[in-house]
C-alpha cells in the first residue's frame, strides 16, 4: 500500500483546464465512494479549488488509482483525458507527505501565505470524512498537515504582511497608530480601491468614517455602504482637523489637499499623527504634505513599493517555513511507519498477557497455601517468559516497517498468533 498525491495545480495547468476540472462536493463524494468500493484505493480525499485539483490516496498500485480517479473526474466534466494526463504531477510517499504539508501551509499557493487554502483543505478533509473514505494514514496525514500549517503561520511571518494595495494601507496605519480601534477616517472620492481600504480599516475597528464627494449623492451612497457619515465637499477642511486617516481617490486633475490646508489643521492636532493614503492618479494630495512633521503621506506608487517589499519578505519567511516542513515530514514518516505495525504489536502483547494472567490464576488456585513471596515469584516468572518471547517478534516488526515491508510481516504475525487482523 502506498501513499500518493496526484493532480494539477496553478504550477502546471492553465486556468482553462483547472476551471474545467474543478468538481463540486456531491460529485466528489460519489467519485471517492466508487473508487473505494471498486477496490482501487484504500483511502482517498480530493482537494478541488480554483487553483488545484488533487487526489490524495493510499492504494496498492498508485499508477492505476491515479488514472482511474482522473478518468472519473474528466468524464464527469467532459474533459478529454489526453489534455489532463500530461499535466498531472504525482508525488509518492515522503514527497506526498511534503506536498500535503506545503499545500496546507500555503507554501504552494499562487500568492504564498494566502490564508484561504487551509480552509479549503479542511473542507476536503471533512468531505472525505463524511463519506467514510479516510483510513488511519490519510486521517493522520491531514490532521498533521493542519498542525504544520498552524505552526508555519505562528512561527514564521509568511502571512503577516499585506500583499495588496488596500491592505498595505491598513498595515502602514498599524505602524503609525497603536491599534485602529476608534481611529477616525475620512474618505474623499468614490474610487474602488479607496472604498476597499476604508472598508478594511472599518473591519479593524476604525470609527467614525466620514465620506465626502463632489457629487453629494455619491457621498451618501458610499457613506451608507460603510455605515459612515456623508460630509459636503466644501467642509472637507473642517473634518481634516479631527480625523486620523485620510483616503483620497478622486479623479481631480489638481491636488485637492494642499500643504497650506494641512498646515492649518496641524496646530490644532497637538502632535497627533495624520496619515494620508492617496490612491488617486494624478495625485490628490500635494506631495510636499508628506514633509510636514507628524504627517505620513503615501501615494499609490509608495503603496506598491510596500507591497513589493512585503512579497520579498514573504519569500524569505517561506524559506524558513520550508525547513520547518522538512523536519515535520521526517517526524511524520517515522510515525507513519509505526502506525502500520503498532496495532499488531499491541494485540500481540494483549494476547500473550491474556494467556499469562489466565495460567497464573489457575496455578495459584491449585496452591492455596502458597506464601505471598511464592505468588509474586510465579507472577514475575510468567512475565519474564512472555517478555523474552515477545522481544524478537516486536523487534522484527519494527525493523520491517522501517524497511518498508511492515505489511507482510504484520500479516504473518497475525496468522501465526491467531490475532484476527486489525
Amino acid at each position: 500500500m502506498r501513499l500518493f498525491v496526484s493532480g494539477i495545480s496553478h504550477r502546471t495547468a492553465p486556468v482553462e483546464v483547472r476551471e474545467q476540472l474543478a468538481v463540486e462536493g456531491d460529485k466528489l463524494r460519489e467519485i471517492m465512494r466508487d473508487l473505494q468500493i471498486a477496490g482501487v484505493v484504500d483511502e482517498i480525499a480530493i482537494v478541488s479549488t480554483c487553483n488545484r485539483v488533487e487526489v490524495y490516496a493510499v492504494a496498492a498500485v498508485p499508477g492505476e488509482a491515479r488514472t482511474l480517479a482522473f478518468r472519473h473526474l474528466c468524464r464527469y466534466r467532459g474533459v478529454e483525458e489526453a489534455i489532463v494526463d500530461p499535466l498531472l504531477v504525482t508525488h509518492e510517499h515522503a514527497e506526498a507527505v511534503r506536498h500535503a504539508f506545503r499545500v496546507a501551509s500555503s507554501l504552494d499557493s499562487m500568492v504564498v501565505g494566502e490564508p484561504q487554502i487551509l480552509g479549503q483543505v479542511k473542507d476536503a478533509f471533512a468531505l472525505a470524512q463524511s463519506c467514510e473514505v479516510l483510513g488511519p494514514t490519510l486521517h493522520s496525514l491531514f490532521t498533521q498537515a493542519f498542525a504544520v500549517a498552524k505552526r508555519v503561520r505562528t512561527e514564521t511571518e509568511i502571512g503577516r504582511h499585506a500583499v495588496s494595495v488596500p491592505f498595505a494601507a491598513v498595515e502602514l496605519a498599524r505602524k503609525i497608530f497603536a491599534g485602529l480601534q476608534g481611529r477616525s477616517v475620512l474618505l474623499v472620492g468614490a474610487g474602488t480601491m479607496g472604498g476597499l481600504a476604508a472598508r478594511h480599516l472599518v473591519e479593524q475597528g476604525a470609527f467614525p468614517v466620514y465620506v465626502t464627494n463632489r457629487t453629494w449623492i455619491r457621498a451618501q451612497e458610499m457613506a451608507r455602504a460603510l455605515s459612515g457619515t456623508p460630509v459636503p465637499f466644501d467642509e472637507m477642511a473642517t473634518v481634516l482637523g479631527s480625523v486620523d486617516i485620510v483616503i483620497t481617490s478622486t479623479g481631480a486633475q489638481e491636488p485637492i489637499i494642499t500643504r497650506s490646508m494641512v498646515e492649518g489643521v496641524l496646530r490644532a492636532r497637538g502632535g497627533r499623527p495624520l496619515f494620508f493614503v492617496d490612491i488617486a492618479v494624478p495625485r490628490n494630495v500635494d506631495p510636499s504634505v508628506g514633509a510636514l512633521d507628524g504627517v505620513y503621506a503615501y501615494d499609490v506608487d509608495d503603496l506598491r513599493q510596500v507591497v513589493e517589499a512585503n512579497l520579498r519578505e514573504r519569500a524569505r519567511e517561506a524559506e524558513r517555513a520550508e525547513t520547518l516542513v522538512d523536519r515535520e515530514v521526517g517526524k511524520f514518516l517515522a510515525r507513519l511507519q509505526d502506525l502500520e505495525v503498532i496495532p499488531t504489536i499491541v494485540s500481540l502483547r494483549e494476547r500473550l498477557e491474556g494467556i499469562r494472567v489466565g495460567e497464573v490464576r489457575k496455578t495459584l488456585a491449585r496452591l492455596p497455601d502458597a506464601l505471598p513471596e511464592t505468588r509474586e515469584a510465579i507472577d514475575a516468572l510468567s512475565q519474564a517468559i512472555i517478555n523474552k518471547i515477545l522481544h524478537a517478534p516486536i523487534t522484527k516488526l519494527r525493523e520491517s516497517s522501517r524497511a518498508g515491508a511492515g505489511r507482510s510481516w504484520t500479516t504473518l504475525v497475525q496468522e501465526l498468533f491467531g490475532l484476527g487482523g486489525r
Binding site: 505602524k175 497608530f177 497603536a178 507628524g294 510596500v306
Partner: protein, 270 residues
C-alpha cells in the same frame, strides 16, 4: 571579592544577552528571543546577588561610590527592560537597551566595586536617598533614550516610504512615543528630587553647593533638557520626533555627566 566575581558573571550574562538580542533583531527567531530573555534574567540574578553581597559585606546600600552607583543603575535598567518588554510586548527592546546596559557596566567591570567612598558626606542618611533617587531616574532615562531611538528609526522608515527590515520589527509610533513619555514622566521626578537632596546635602557637608565637581557642574544641564521636554510636551503638545530628539540630547548630556564623574577627579569620587 565574591561580589566582583558575581558581577563579572552578570556582565558575561549581559554580553550574551546583548548578542542574542541583536541577533533576534536581525532574525526574529523565537528561540533566539527566549535565549536572550534567559541570558538577561540569568545576568540580572547574578547581578542581584552581587549587589546583596556588597550590602552584607559593607553594611550599606551598594551606592557607596560612583562605579557602585552605575552598577546599580544597570541593575535597575535591566529590571525595567524586562518589565517593559513583557508588559508592553516590545520584544525588540532588549536589542536597544542591553547594549547600553552593557556599555555602562563595562566601564566599571575592570575596577574593584567597593572603593573607598565619598567620605564624611556619606554619614547623612539623606545622601543615600539622593543617590537612590538619581539612580532610578537615570535608569528610566536609559529606557527613555532607547524608546526615542526606536521611534526615530521607525519614523524615518515610514517617512522614507521604504519600510526596511527594521520597520517590520519595531512597534508602531504611538506605542514608542508612549513608552518614551512614560519613561520621562517617571524619571524626571526621581531626578529632580534626587538632585535637590544632593544639593542640600552638598551644602551641608561641603559648605557650598557650587563646588568644583563634574557631576555638580553638568547634572543641572541634563535636568534642564528633560525639564524643557516635559514642559514642551505638557504645554505645547510636543510629541513624536521633537520629544525623541530631546530624549537623545538629554541622554547625551547624561552620559557626558556620568563619564566626567567617572573619569575626572571630583567630590563624588571615582
Amino acid at each position: 571579592m565574591t561580589s566582583q566575581i558575581l558581577f563579572d558573571l552578570a556582565v558575561a550574562g549581559y554580553v550574551c544577552a546583548t548578542g542574542l538580542a541583536l541577533a533576534h533583531l536581525l532574525h526574529r527567531h523565537g528561540l533566539v528571543y527566549r535565549l536572550a530573555s534567559l541570558a538577561t534574567l540569568g545576568g540580572w540574578i547574578c547581578h542581584t546577588v552581587s549587589l546583596v553581597h556588597v550590602v552584607v559585606e559593607t553594611g550599606r546600600p551598594p551606592l557607596g561610590s560612583l562605579p557602585e552607583a552605575v552598577s546599580t543603575i544597570v541593575w535597575v535598567v535591566v529590571l525595567l527592560e524586562m518589565w517593559v518588554e513583557r508588559h508592553h510586548g516590545v520584544r525588540v527592546l532588549g536589542g536597544f537597551v542591553m547594549p547600553i546596559a552593557l556599555v555602562l557596566s563595562l566601564k566599571i567591570v575592570a575596577r574593584p566595586l567597593t572603593l573607598p567612598s565619598i567620605g564624611p558626606a556619606l554619614g547623612s542618611a539623606w545622601i543615600w536617598v539622593h543617590i537612590s533617587l538619581v539612580t532610578v531616574g537615570i535608569a528610566a532615562f536609559v529606557l527613555n533614550f532607547a524608546g526615542a531611538l526606536m521611534y526615530l528609526i521607525q519614523e524615518r522608515q515610514l517617512k522614507s516610504k521604504r519600510p526596511g527590515a527594521m520597520s517590520y520589527r519595531l512597534p508602531d509610533l504611538e506605542t514608542l512615543d508612549r513608552l518614551t513619555y512614560q519613561a520621562l514622566a517617571i524619571g524626571f521626578p526621581f531626578l529632580t528630587i534626587g538632585l535637590i537632596l544632593g544639593a542640600l546635602s552638598a551644602g551641608a557637608a561641603w559648605g557650598s553647593v557650587f563646588t568644583l565637581d563634574p557631576l555638580v557642574a553638568l547634572s543641572p544641564m541634563a535636568w534642564a533638557v528633560y525639564a524643557a521636554t516635559l514642559g514642551g510636551r505638557a504645554a505645547a503638545g510636543w510629541g513624536g520626533r521633537r520629544a525623541a530628539h530631546c530624549a537623545v540630547l538629554g541622554f547625551a548630556v547624561l552620559v557626558l555627566t556620568l563619564g566626567a564623574g567617572l573619569f575626572l577627579p571630583g567630590r563624588h569620587g571615582s
